[in-house]
């Protein structure tokens, strides 16, 4: 690993700066409210009133088989009886979920606490979205996991639970092609992860700010493959001029990347899920990491198989497929992972 990285430190610094810039840009956009879905909540206070209470945040917690809603307020509110709260699923705002009890956090009185704990009559999904209305004073807010919780959850889920190779079967051709040697696999994994993050973010920007407003969603496939081809070509040219050594190592992979389903799948999945900037970034990073991990594991196993005596009919690709099947079985274990407590 170190041997690959040492001569190319400048190149990696450049890559990191580019990725950070993309992340920062999306973060700024999200913070300014240009994009819905990244901020945790927005409640507009009525004008003129002296320091009206506001909902700062709300999320679902699960403890000991019981789920509850935690609400953070700017100041405590007076009326805390359950009838003053209306709690619904974001997707079904007409069907209220019964609120059984309202308590203050850590044993404090409910009408003196800025953090309320609502117990509801049915189990809730901490990763889903809900809506909370307080009738008096009239406040409304969305209940959802915090942006960072979602970010980490998407990364973990796309890297392990829904690993691109082992559970979604993407990028198989390239996966079997370059997983013969560990060193190649590492280089390929790194290149792929980087290209996935950059193309993912660029496609997201295009999708959100050009294709959506102009109602051009049906051009997804055409636009995204154009973005990938354009970016890979750009990267190739820039690398060749500025970092010759790096280009010599990774140039060959770059050419292979252009028409690869694993790269194209990231923007397509993001568009299908209508993901926000942080989620898109997380999906790109997570699936890049997952692909690199899969390549690394596979190359280690295949180097061993080289030394084994494989039946003639199974030599080559068939045994590699069987190996991948074993890894897929192992990765199934991750599906039991519960990301939100």
């Amino acid at each position: 690993m170190a041997r690959i990285l040492v001569p190319t430190r400048r190149g990696i610094a450049l890559a990191a700066i580019l990725a950070l810039a993309a992340a920062g840009l999306s973060g700024v956009l999200a913070a300014r409210g240009a994009v819905p879905s990244a901020g945790r909540m927005s409640a507009s206070p009525p004008r003129g009133a002296p320091r009206p209470p506001r909902i700062l945040g709300a999320w679902v917690e699960r403890s000991g088989g019981e789920s509850r809603v935690v609400v953070r307020l700017s100041t405590p509110i007076e009326r805390v009886e359950p009838a003053n709260f209306r709690f619904t699923e974001a997707a079904a705002p007409d069907l209220p979920i019964v609120v059984r009890e309202v308590r203050g956090a850590r044993g404090a009185a409910a009408n003196a606490s800025a953090r309320l704990i609502l117990t509801v009559a049915q189990p809730l999904d901490p990763s889903a979205r809900y809506r909370l209305d307080i009738l008096e004073p009239a406040l409304a807010g969305e209940v959802r996991p915090s942006a960072w919780a979602l970010f980490l959850a998407v990364i973990l889920s796309s890297a392990l639970i829904n690993n691109f190779v082992f559970t979604r079967y993407l990028g198989l051709c390239i996966f079997f092609g370059v997983s013969k040697k560990r060193e190649t696999a590492l280089g390929m994994g790194a290149t792929f992860a980087f290209v996935m993050v950059t193309t993912g973010m660029l496609s997201w920007l295009l999708y959100e700010f050009v294709m959506k407003p102009l109602h051009l969603r049906f051009l997804q496939v055409l636009v995204f493959i154009g973005v990938v081809a354009f970016l890979v070509q750009l990267l190739d040219t820039v690398l060749k001029k500025t970092h010759g050594a790096l280009h010599e190592k990774f140039g060959i992979y770059l050419v292979l990347i252009t028409t690869n389903c694993i790269i194209l799948a990231v923007p397509l999945l993001n568009a299908a899920a209508d993901a926000g900037p942080l989620e898109s970034l997380a999906l790109a990073m997570g699936s890049g990491a997952g692909f690199a991990l899969a390549l690394f594991l596979m190359s280690c196993a295949r180097e061993r198989v080289e030394l084994a005596r494989v039946p003639p009919a199974l030599q080559g690709l068939p045994i590699a497929f069987a190996l991948a099947g074993l890894f897929a079985l192992a990765f199934m274990g991750f599906s039991g992972l519960n990301l939100f407590r």
């Binding site: 082992f166 559970t167 979604r168 079967y169 993407l170 990028g171 198989l172 051709c173 390239i174 079997f176 092609g177 370059v178 049906f218 051009l219 997804q220 496939v221 055409l222 493959i225 081809a229 292979l256 252009t258 028409t259 690869n260 389903c261 790269i263 194209l264 799948a265 397509l268 999945l269 299908a272 039946p311 003639p312 009919a313 199974l314 030599q315 080559g316 690709l317 068939p318 045994i319 590699a320 497929f321 069987a322 991948a324 099947g325 074993l326 897929a328 079985l329 990765f331 199934m332």
Partner: protein, 218 residues
């Protein structure tokens, strides 16, 4: 692998179709475009729908390239092929979404990803850009049919073993080997089928057992 297709007079339609089905079957022999072959083949119907989509895209792109081959400058041919494929994929994608929404919901992502299939662009490069309309049509048809057949075979195997049914019709009570319907089972099914093809080839003694060394393309 293109050596057999190079003579200036195009081979007859029958040989082109057989070629796609057996001698150069995209999945089992060329080992191209494997992702969907594992991903959507949990049932025959899913395999069938994706196979039909690939067949349509392959035929339509082959025909388009064959018609426009005089106009495409060789230096920009790859981007042009990609755009042609992307256009046809978008068209097929929307058609399927409109007419078979329930099935489309299961295979949607992979239909869009047809655009990145190595098999399609390699046929355009090797065949459709060199031959006129009619042979290109049959070549695309044969290759698409080969792909379709492979998907249906894998789908039938997995649905029968994993679910005990074919086309949703129950043949065996219970689920004999649920394993084959799981993600891992897809990899094993392909491994066994490929090994089976290799074994037949060795038994017949015609090949030199090099099918297993297949392609490593996107």
């Amino acid at each position: 692998m293109s050596a057999a297709l190079l003579p200036p007079t195009p081979p007859p339609a029958r040989r082109l179709i057989l070629n796609g089905l057996f001698a150069e079957n995209p999945v089992f022999r060329l080992a191209l475009s494997l992702c969907p072959a594992v991903a959507v083949t949990t049932t025959v119907l899913n395999g069938l729908i994706l196979g039909v989509a690939v067949l349509m895209v392959q035929v339509l792109s082959s025909v388009t390239v064959a018609l426009a081959r005089g106009l495409i400058h060789p230096r920009v041919r790859i981007p042009v092929y990609t755009i042609i494929i992307a256009v046809w994929v978008s068209a097929i994608d929307m058609t399927l979404a409109a007419f078979v929404p329930a099935l489309y919901a299961q295979v949607g992502l992979y239909v869009k990803l047809i655009v990145a299939f190595a098999i399609i662009i390699s046929r355009l490069e090797m065949f459709a850009s060199r031959y006129p309309l009619v042979p290109s049509f049959w070549d695309g048809f044969g290759m698409g049919l080969g792909f379709l057949a492979a998907l249906v075979v894998i789908g039938a195997l997995r649905e029968l073993l994993g679910n005990g049914s074919i086309f949703g019709v129950r043949l065996v009570a219970g689920k004999p080997l649920l394993f084959f319907a799981l993600p891992a089972g897809g990899f094993f099914s392909i491994a066994f089928l490929m090994a089976f093809f290799n074994w037949i080839e060795r038994r017949v003694g015609r090949g030199r057992g090099r099918a297993a060394a297949g392609g490593a393309h996107g």
